[in-house]
Structure formats: structure tokens, C-alpha cells
Symmetry: C2
Subunit: 152 residues, 2 copies
């Protein structure tokens, strides 16, 4: 098992960060513009990435296993690329001074495949996008996201 | 043991990327403006981060264990924060279409401490800075780097 781990600090309240993680409007502000479903506890969220005008865009479906207001969110991937299915993504929030700290983990990868390296880098850029979105109202969700290479 | 893994693709030659990893001028263009020493095989490089006008800035000393032109660089941390000492940072380059792909690894962390989460995120932003530096001539080295939170 291999994990992707990240940490960011956002100058906003834990509640503001939590809203950006548990509403489709919030998620569309920093990860991908195409978010559907129910992002609260017990829901399933569909994230889609329309890069090439495909009628059937790639993406992920996440089951929201936990959503503890202003403190923790846990998703499990129920559909998407094979390497992602069954992996879990956790968001733990706490306050340090003027910052809400996010401890992020994407756990359960079977192998440290090249796609995992790519996803590690992309998660970091999307966390920076989340930070900008919550602090300024303007993130960089797909398809306007930071490019990191040939795999976007 | 826990590893930080990333992947980026840069629209430039492997040699251009290699130069940005093995010369003090190149390294100063994307990681930190204060780089000294010898960044080629057998050398030791000093990276310093002057965030608060401290007369004794924090940083890392890296021993260059391998430098295979245009293909691979391997550093070992010989001085710096305790969690970093003895860890190794590898850069493997290859060409895919119009891109030089970097497979990056920072291996040998004893524990997935909070500082490691932070460093994982920071490495990603510095890899994006490296990409920008090689592609456009302008990166975002410290102290002008992308901020990810209270730990910079």
C-alpha cells in the first residue's frame, strides 16, 4: 500500500473550507467545473473532466463515507480508473493560528504506479486551487487547472 | 518507510531539464535563489531559504551521488532538518512525445510526519516551478515561491 499525503494551510475558517469540500458548488470552484450528485454524508458525487470534448468524459464517483461538519470528510472511490477504485481520500481540518490546516491523504493504492506519481502532483496543485478558491473566491478547477505535463 | 512521489512533463529536451538540476544557476531558477556549491556528480550543494532575514537561514545540503547526463540525478541529504537527513531524492528523465517526463522520488522518510505531508505539497509546487523555469526561463524559486500555508 502506498499513500499520497499533502498539507496546506488556508486563511479562512474551518467551516468555509468544509463548505468547499461538501457542496457541489464548492467542489466545482477548485477541482472540476463538472460536479454532480450529493456531496454530503451518505451521498455519491460525480466528478467529471471534460478535456477533449468527449461525449463520455473521464472522472470519478466518490461515496461520502464521513462528513463531520468543519472537521473531517472521507470519500471512497466507487467508480473511475481501476487504480482509484476502492481507494479512500480523507480531509482532516483543524485550526493553527490564522490558518485552517488540511491534512490530506489518498490511501489504498496497490502499487506506486506512474499514474500515482502524476496524481500526487495533481492533488497538490488542486489543493493550491482549493486554497485560492476559499481565500479569494477564485480557484483553478479543470478544465482551467494548472497543467503538470502530458497527462494534464 | 514512506516516499514522496511526483511526475511532471516538461516541453523541453532532457538536456535542458538536466541542466536545471545540475547547475547552481539552474537550481536557483526554480527551487531557491540561494544555491551554492557543486551540483555535479560527487559535489555537495547547499540550498538555503531566507524567509525572515535570519542571519543563519534554514536549508539543506545535498551530496550528489549520481549525475548521469540527461537521464538521472540522485541526491542524498547530508545536512538539514532531522527528518531529511539520510533521505534520497531522485530525478529520472525520459522522453514521451514532446515532453521530458520527470519521475521524482524523495525516499527514506522514517515516518509520515506532518512535515512530510507539507514537503510533499511543496515539492509539487517546486516541480511546477521547474517546469515553468525550463519552458519559459521564469520559475518561482524561494523566497518568491508559491505559498501553501503557515509553513510557507
Amino acid at each position: 500500500m502506498v499513500d499520497i499525503l499533502h498539507r496546506v494551510g488556508i486563511t479562512a475558517s474551518q467551516d468555509a473550507v468544509y463548505q468547499a469540500l461538501t457542496t457541489t458548488e464548492g467542489l466545482a470552484g477548485w477541482w472540476t467545473s463538472d460536479v454532480r450528485g450529493d456531496a454530503d454524508a451518505g451521498g455519491v458525487v460525480q466528478f467529471r473532466f471534460r478535456f477533449d470534448d468527449s461525449p463520455d468524459p473521464d472522472g470519478f464517483d466518490m461515496s461520502v463515507l464521513e462528513a463531520k461538519p468543519a472537521e473531517r470528510v472521507l470519500w471512497e472511490v466507487v467508480d473511475g480508473p481501476g487504480e482509484w477504485i476502492g481507494t479512500q481520500i480523507s480531509w482532516d481540518l483543524r485550526t493553527e493560528g490564522d490558518y485552517t490546516i488540511i491534512m490530506f491523504a489518498h490511501r489504498g493504492w496497490q502499487e506506486p504506479v506512474e499514474f500515482m506519481h502524476h496524481c500526487s502532483t495533481k492533488w497538490a496543485t488542486f489543493l493550491v486551487s482549493l486554497k485560492a478558491y476559499v481565500e479569494t473566491g477564485k480557484g483553478a478547477p479543470a478544465p482551467y487547472e494548472e497543467r503538470v505535463g502530458d497527462w494534464r
